[in-house]
């Protein structure tokens, strides 16, 4: 009996001390010591921003300063199919550089073949986004957003839910990653963690600065950069006739912006007059979070940079080309969207000649930045 009890206790001890294997998430102890000293150890080589004229410095989360090493690690992770359970997809599968990091599909398709309800966002200048994704008011940081495609199951994107250990094992067993993680997170005893993966991915994405389009060159004084048609379109865009700039203004052509000088974080979502059939589950927009009927169909106005490359348009990819988008707004909406009570006040019908519509499209095309879409720094390293 005594032997049995002793043996049972041994088993009990073994069982009790079995860890879930998720303790890998713990950060190293050195940070605590450094906090006590009131200093922080250098975390690699600070990244030097090469910002276009008129671009403010992006606001970077204090716990994840951008370093050359994190950006490099993030570039590999971004394009690595190890991040999907079945190793068929990476972040880059739905965010292709040649399309300004969108995928050209109406809605994206995940690694298991499940369709996403939304059109993939482009990633030009994401460092300045006040919120990520189309209509989520609580996803503030890219670090938080990264977990959604990795671990989400509604829909399944990369399909890594409950597979943290598998992912970390894959990376830990790759000698290239051992050195890259160590370099990116030199203060961590064990740099392999989900948190560090999201930190590296975010750091890489924050370097996606696009500010060298024909429009930018025109603004910098090269008046030959825009055609006469594009200049007329620019005047329409920023003028009181079309009033596009209200939602697509500023250096990033959107109305929500975050940079070092941001004092008031104004988070706005708009109903842009699409037919109400576009706003049913699971595409209710802000309504999904607030459950207020007045928020149905409200989405974030995306940056129009590289908009020529990011077709099809809208949260559900329901508008195929730029001229159709212009027509949608000239009409004050589409279908019953023209009378939707939630419709933004700036979405109202106005008259534009066919040539003016073409001018507007020409201007939008002038926001294309081929340096951005061909920059070797953003390319797939594999």
């Amino acid at each position: 009996m005594n032997r049995l009890i002793t043996f049972s206790l041994f088993l009990l001890l073994l069982f009790q001390c079995t860890q879930l294997g998720l303790e890998k998430e713990k950060s190293s102890g050195s940070e605590g010591i450094l906090l006590l000293l009131g200093t922080s150890a250098p975390e690699g080589t600070p990244y030097t921003w090469d910002l276009p004229p008129g671009f403010p410095a992006p606001r970077i989360p204090s716990d994840n300063p951008v370093t050359v090493e994190k950006v490099e690690l993030g570039r590999f992770l971004f394009y690595d199919t190890k991040l999907s359970e079945n190793e068929t997809q990476s972040c880059g599968s739905c965010h292709k550089q040649e399309d300004a990091f969108t995928d050209g599909l109406t809605v994206s398709v995940g690694s298991t073949g499940q369709s996403h309800p939304r059109n993939a966002q482009h990633l030009s200048n994401v460092a300045y986004n006040l919120r990520q994704t189309w209509a989520n008011p609580v996803l503030k940081k890219l670090e938080d957003q990264a977990r959604v495609p990795m671990f989400g199951d509604n829909p399944v994107e990369l399909g890594m839910k409950d597979r943290e250990d598998l992912l970390l094992d894959r990376l830990t067993n790759d000698p290239d990653y051992v050195s890259k993680f160590k370099a990116a997170f030199p203060n961590d005893q064990n740099p392999f963690s989900i948190l560090n993966i999201t930190k590296a991915l975010s750091s890489f994405q924050r370097t996606f600065i696009s500010g060298n389009s024909a429009y930018d060159r025109y603004q910098a004084g090269d008046f030959s950069a825009l055609s006469a048609s594009a200049i007329r379109g620019k005047n329409l865009f920023f003028g009181e006739k079309a009033e596009c700039f209200h939602c697509h203004g500023g250096f990033n052509f959107t109305d929500t912006i975050l940079h070092v000088g941001t004092v008031f974080e104004e988070v706005t979502f708009h109903n842009n007059g699409l037919d109400s059939s576009r706003f049913v589950s699971p595409n209710g927009g802000l309504y999904e979070f607030t459950t207020k009927e007045s928020d149905r169909g409200k989405f974030r106005a995306p940056s129009l940079r590289n908009v020529e490359l990011t077709a099809p348009y809208m949260h559900d990819g329901s508008i195929p080309d730029l001229l159709s988008v212009v027509n949608h707004y000239v009409n004050g909406g589409t279908g019953d969207g023209t009378t939707n009570p939630n419709r933004d006040v700036f979405v109202r019908s106005f008259s534009l000649s066919e040539s003016e519509k073409q001018d507007l499209v020409e201007f939008l095309k002038s926001l294309t930045d081929t340096e951005f879409t061909t920059n070797p720094k953003f390319q797939d390293p594999f």
């Binding site: 079995t18 671990f151 979070f289």
Partner: protein
């Protein structure tokens, strides 16, 4: 020789009581637990009707009796064989009420694995067979309990709001599991229950039920959720509840009563109004009103007390 065994037992017990993370427990209770062969606490079990909830093999025999040998109407509450995919949930806020209405709030120690800050993860899937979660399982809320009969057991299905929006990637276990984290809302899923039909006529049709706080917005780091979706489970069985001889039983069949997956999959992700059609059918099973996220007019039916 006997002395040696005694020393060994004492040494091992001490190690057990210290419990890997320095948490101490009442040694008398530990001895009592030893006598019953269980660590001290509130034990749980999970069934689907009359069958155990298991990941390996079909779960059948959870149907209602039929006079005909041919079953024509198939639905979750019927007799179709199903395969469990996931069954995990967080519980917290345990209270025991004795016969004199004295309320004892149970102390839930941090164990480093299944319990943190008063929250316990109960995990009935082992990642095998049709399940795709984690290999580890847990059916015990580890806490000091007395060998006596109480009138009522009370607990909350969910994570307190104070912990519901912490960063799960750096949170202590069991609040760091991607299958229970709800990244889209920066919160947690309190309850995850999923299965698929393995009946030829309805093969692969799924039932997916995820419960968590909804309608959450954030301002200056403070979250407010319009729908808490936490249910307080109160169990007052005839003859009372003795944690030494009885356990809490969860019935997945009762949880999805109201859903028919014979014509297609059913899912509830608790995404507010977007999800109301399916959620409002099954939330009352948990004693919740889906529209408010608070207690509804009907009592919960998913938890009960049974003998160990």
């Amino acid at each position: 020789m006997k002395l040696l065994y005694k020393s060994a037992i004492i040494a091992l017990l001490t190690a057990y009581i210290a419990n890997c993370d320095g948490q101490s427990a009442n040694p008398n209770l530990a001895l009592l637990a030893l006598a019953t062969g269980n660590p001290s606490g509130i034990q749980f079990s999970a069934v689907v009707g009359d069958s155990h909830a298991t990941c390996e093999g079909d779960i059948s025999g959870h149907g209602d009796s039929h006079s005909s040998s041919v079953v024509t109407i198939q639905h979750v509450a019927g007799v179709m064989p199903i395969k469990l995919k996931d069954l995990r949930f967080y519980v917290s806020g345990f209270e025991l009420v004795d016969q004199d209405d004295n309320v004892t709030t149970l102390d839930i120690p941090n164990t480093g694995v299944w319990q943190y800050s008063g929250v316990t993860l109960l995990d009935f899937e082992n990642g095998k067979g049709s399940c795709s979660g984690t290999a580890e399982t847990n059916n015990l809320v580890q806490t000091s309990v007395e060998n006596k009969t109480y009138k009522t057991l009370r607990f909350t299905l969910g994570i307190p709001e104070s912990l519901n929006h912490i960063d799960y990637s750096v949170a202590p276990s069991p609040l760091n599991i991607s299958g229970l984290a709800w990244g889209w809302t920066m919160g947690y899923r309190f309850f995850v229950g999923e299965f698929i039909s393995n009946d030829a006529a309805t093969l692969g049709n799924a039932a997916v039920l995820h419960i968590g706080s909804a309608g959450c917005t954030e301002s200056s780091g403070v979250y407010t959720c319009t729908n808490s979706n936490r249910t307080v489970i109160e169990l007052t069985p005839t003859g009372g509840f003795n944690p030494f001889t009885q356990k809490v039983q969860f019935d997945l069949k009762k949880a999805v009563t109201g859903w028919d997956i014979s014509a297609g999959s059913k899912s509830c992700h608790s995404m507010g109004a977007m999800d109301s059609a399916n959620c409002s059918l099954v939330y009352p099973n948990f004693g919740l009103d889906y529209s408010t996220g608070n207690a509804g007019s009907t009592a919960q039916t998913v938890f009960g007390i049974v003998s160990k």
